[in-house]
Symmetry: C3
């Protein structure tokens, strides 16, 4: 693999899930594979899980890791072409990406959306430019509209714990105080569609995801209907795609609780973290036996390790 | 050892001092011990000596190190239970600690006190919650009321240089322009009490440390009386414990100088650093032969290495 | 080598260029040399290329690397002697440097000029104090008035690509919106003088570099005259040395373009980066075949590796 930016970059999702589980069982089996190879982790936005889990995965594979928080340690990047750079941006992404490609064999890159201009965000302009100009294999550490390492870890978590071949998986919108990207929801949806589960999305009116991500999912504004018999419930806030980047409702009644859990098939409750307790998810669920959030976080390591292994194997 | 948060976590202080000195003589003797083990260093507050010395100690032991400045690279943590997180805190310490425990075999954690609510600070709430929810061995990189790695390095320094079995050790308050935690003074006092030296504490009125830390020390507001015949003088500012977190005096006359050194038994002068020159300690002392501040800083490595070794040996 | 702060610290520039090219051809040939040696990279100012390339060079040599962004992770340093530190500076450079020398075998240090007091900046006070008080070998990661790792990488780039023994090399001033240090221009000039090329400097009136850096260069305010027949053109902004730290002109007409390239001998165009596109250098040049900026960036690794190798060999 030369690029890991969406589910479409993976030729066989079952194979990469198997690889992740295999890495989990034997974390140091491939520690010679990354010898003399350097992974650069470039963040334009904050990160905790993604940074630590990807760093750990790379170290397990014997790689060297260099972390650069460009937003804090570096400077503002220009992403528009042809402009006169006489303002506050200090370096163009063409040079910045090119230079980092000179120092790294593989690069992980994170850049959040602006949530102002939908067309711009959904074109993945910054991520795609970075990929183009760095000239080395790139894995997404979350881009404007996707978070594929998270989704792969989520898929691994479900595959490890599912009791039926085609579990019912529900993605439910949850309230939040800040407008958040659609990235995690988009990515989860496209991976679930590919996994061919019984996949349902539920959210208040006005929060429909982009059609290319919804795919074949059943969509309803009735959360209770969605939750009925669910094996896994993925809780996540996102801001509106149609009224782009906006918060349309305070979402009263949409928080996931033990009461709602009764509607499900004793579902495992998932969240990518960080989670707002008492707002997105109740304390009782997070502290109870149905929470899978730490399983998901743990699986971030093995998802990253499977992806990095595949990238390392593709290096000449 | 599964936890290093105070002198009480050490079964035998003479043994751990010996271990630190042994590591100093042969820094790479145990470099296989930490193979495939990851140390996370999590800072909610700035650090220079603690970060570098602990990182170095872990590398000497063959560990991988991941540093996370949560205050700068991450986001604000919620520490209260049961609240609705609809404010500025982005993640609860339950999840943040739990996740970091998934990625690290051992964690070092730093969190300073607020210096507003004494009961809260002295309950070590944040540190204790982190320990509880991360689920892996933790060493304190300074908590609200203790700085045990500093104190162990201080003890090593005294043990290396003392000329009598029970040297006279004086902890003297010094002036400062900002209200500082009592952590270093508290910790130094509890380690000196355990070491069973001739231990004296001197400070202006109103700066008494908490009784559980003072222990059997002789306490006086007369600095000259305290310094008389001292073998080691530890200079440190702290804010008031009784009038919690307050500065009660500008401390004129309390700065340690060569003039005062004459009262002592040619004492070694100690400070944990960073030190305010010309305010806490005179330039002449810091630039003179009695200063032990770099000895202490150097011993931070071996203190951390002895603690990490003991923790690594306890991992199954 | 115990110190790398300027071209004068290098006994033979041809030899160190050869060493850099040799490291480039075989990056891991000396990976045992740095075993058990720690490089500290201390930044008082932001860095991208310098940090990543020096970190990579050290890892190639088998060293451990600890990065400290003192401006962000640490605190403000006091550099004046004899003052009462009752203000905003938290630690004196004497202690900060001394402590870091206890933890590192070699230190890289970056400190930019204030551009207010010329005498102070040109005395290299902060850099020299750091060197003095840390007590271990130091390599400059850019000081107030020099950037020697950049210049060595630039020299390697020219040596790799030159077609004549003594190429014509032109350093041309370029417009910028912020007052920048003279460091890169100064350093480039002193390395070019040492290399004994046909070296020309061109800039608008008032932008003369300090005489000790100009050396034997031919200086002209006529850019076209300077560019005529050039083999290499180094484009760089700097603020005024005479009217210290000031911007004297918006520099209209001084941007390097393809039109001006026609005056040259199909010159290779160089810049240390970050570059302001459309202001210092045209988009067409940066995206065209004459740009050497990524060659220079790549050679930063091998320049640093040659310097670090020489320093490591000098350690007892």
């Amino acid at each position: 693999m030369k690029l890991f930016s969406s589910v479409n970059d993976v030729s066989n999702i079952h194979q990469i899930v198997s690889e992740a589980i295999s890495q989990k069982q034997n974390p140091f089996a491939d520690e010679q594979l990354g010898k003399h190879k350097t992974l650069g982790l470039i963040f334009l936005n904050p990160s905790l899980r993604t940074r630590l889990s990807t760093q750990k995965a790379a170290l397990n594979l014997g790689m060297q890791v260099m972390v650069m928080n460009l937003d804090k340690e570096g400077w503002a990047l220009e992403t528009q072409d042809g402009v006169i750079m006489n303002g506050t941006t200090v370096e163009h992404i063409r040079e910045a990406a090119g230079v980092m490609g000179e120092y790294c064999d593989v690069i992980g890159f994170r850049s959040f959306p602006g949530l102002v201009n939908r067309e711009e965000d959904y074109s993945e302009e910054i991520f795609n430019k970075f990929v183009k100009f760095c000239g080395v294999p790139v894995l997404s550490l979350e881009s404007a509209i996707r978070h594929p390492l998270q989704s792969l870890a989520d898929l691994v978590t479900i595959e490890e714990l599912k009791k039926t071949e085609k579990p019912k998986v529900v993605l439910t919108w949850a309230p939040h105080v800040k407008p958040l990207p659609q990235a995690v929801a988009n990515s989860f949806a496209e991976w679930m569609n590919k996994a061919d589960y019984d996949f349902v999305i539920t959210h208040p009116e006005g929060y429909d995801l982009a059609p290319e991500f919804v795919g074949n999912a059943f969509v309803t504004n009735n959360q209770d209907e969605a939750l009925a018999g669910a094996d896994f419930v993925y809780v996540k806030n996102w801001s509106s795609y149609n009224d782009y980047g906006k918060i349309l409702t305070d979402g009263e009644g949409w928080m996931m609780t033990n009461e709602k859990l009764k509607l499900t098939n004793n579902a495992g409750v998932m969240h990518c973290l960080p989670v707002r307790r008492g707002l997105e998810l109740s304390h009782e669920i997070l502290d109870g036996p149905n929470s899978l959030v730490l399983n998901q976080a743990n699986n971030r390591v093995w998802a990253a390790q499977a992806v990095l292994k595949s990238i390392l194997e593709s290096l000449t």
